[in-house]
Subunit: 287 residues, 2 copies
Amino acid sequence: MSEFDEAIALQRMGTDGESTAWRGRLSDRWSVGTAVNGGLLMALAANAVRDAVAEAGEGAHRDPIALSAHFMSAAAPGDLDVTTEVLRRGRRMSTGQAALVQDGEDGPVERMRALVTVADLEPDGTVHRCEPAPDMPAPDACVPSSAAPAELAGAFTLTERLDVRFDPETVGFAVGAPSGRGELRAWMRLADGREFDSVALLLALDALPPVAFDLGLMGWAPTIEFSGHVWARPAPGWLRMRTRTQTLVGGVMEEVAWIWDSRDRLVAQSRQMCGVRVPKDGLPVSA
Amino acid sequence: MSEFDEAIALQRMGTDGESTAWRGRLSDRWSVGTAVNGGLLMALAANAVRDAVAEAGEGAHRDPIALSAHFMSAAAPGDLDVTTEVLRRGRRMSTGQAALVQDGEDGPVERMRALVTVADLEPDGTVHRCEPAPDMPAPDACVPSSAAPAELAGAFTLTERLDVRFDPETVGFAVGAPSGRGELRAWMRLADGREFDSVALLLALDALPPVAFDLGLMGWAPTIEFSGHVWARPAPGWLRMRTRTQTLVGGVMEEVAWIWDSRDRLVAQSRQMCGVRVPKDGLPVSA
């Protein structure tokens, strides 16, 4: 079993009508600082919802096509309780919900709630329109995340689970020279060689450093709301990613992500609202 | 009371812990064909969540800043049951959920489930980065929705609630000559003169015709998932809107929307996944 499949595995505790209780354990191997990466939580939630739909209904609906999540508190390594509820079981798609809860000092604390619509993606649905994949140097000509300064990499066990190669044009943040354009581009694989599928794409969508880094904002950028769309099952091999921000108001910003697979096919997109800390005198860097 | 406030009003039926039951009635005055407009449902859901948060907690948190909704079946004029649940009550923001249910032939049917994060928007949060408002002819030089051919307008009572003025460059769809660019631009006001606030912006984000019309796809484009972000309370006066699609795969597309207020300030953005019917031989029109 790959380390990703292990990380999203849950044990079914019991079912009551459309509601199912699950238990799991978050390891300290997918962390960003002291928090477990939100992409991992979303993949785990989507996996639980598709299992709940598949075991209860007729259609399999193995692919999450749309996931929306609101993050309420930072998840920490440790025990995790998940409750799923199947909301609609349809012929072409089904929808469910997942609530992720951990024990806090004063009782249970909800970390994230997600709505997930699942379906069966056509292997080769016609692409009528899509954003083209960006031109980038080949992975071997890019900057590996393993080259990150120890003080950046140390707090991020997530980076050890992924093989990320940054486009040299967008990796200035790592050496104190962000471009100010608000854009990152990178290749991505899972470090243990497991190929991405529609569930693992949800991890990938939220697994690059915050795009705020490219504006010189190097702090944590906690996700408030996240919406991810999966357009196709990815072909094996490297994913190509691009993230960008165009909106930053007060201490809140948007971050948009695109993922193309090794066939240069657009396979997933997302948009999130996250918090950032902007210095009183404005952005440190602008393009 | 404005017709919008009347349309989103609910009666509180009872509270059990963090869960509150509400009843309302959807009129036939906000319809697109036989279905009630999704934007109205989202505004209604956000209003219920902020009322549930305000009555139960300390902070008011009067502005929905992020709403995510999954649409499961088309809502029809008639009675509506809403259940809200407050998930997190925070100092700076709170999060709740709303489930909208109507009676179907075989019992209750869920129409939409939404997650809503509410906060208090700063009156003048600094805009560090944002998409600029598009250049458009003044409202009086644009094409009013009241000029729509009767066969288009007749099925849409929603159009009578709104004063919409289309940029002449993007209104070709109304006369059988869509541009193929996948973009619409328009001014918008509520017909009865009520000014937009942060809740009414959620209606506006989903109240223009489908952007698919500009690709020659004139059918219904039912929303699967919708994610809306509100950046600021709008100033009184006309809203300026732009919608665009860049992704259309198989029978599913994305639609992105931006709204600027009369100060040219970006006040809201959204991205939705919706279904479309593409002819077997491809898009009827491309730019």
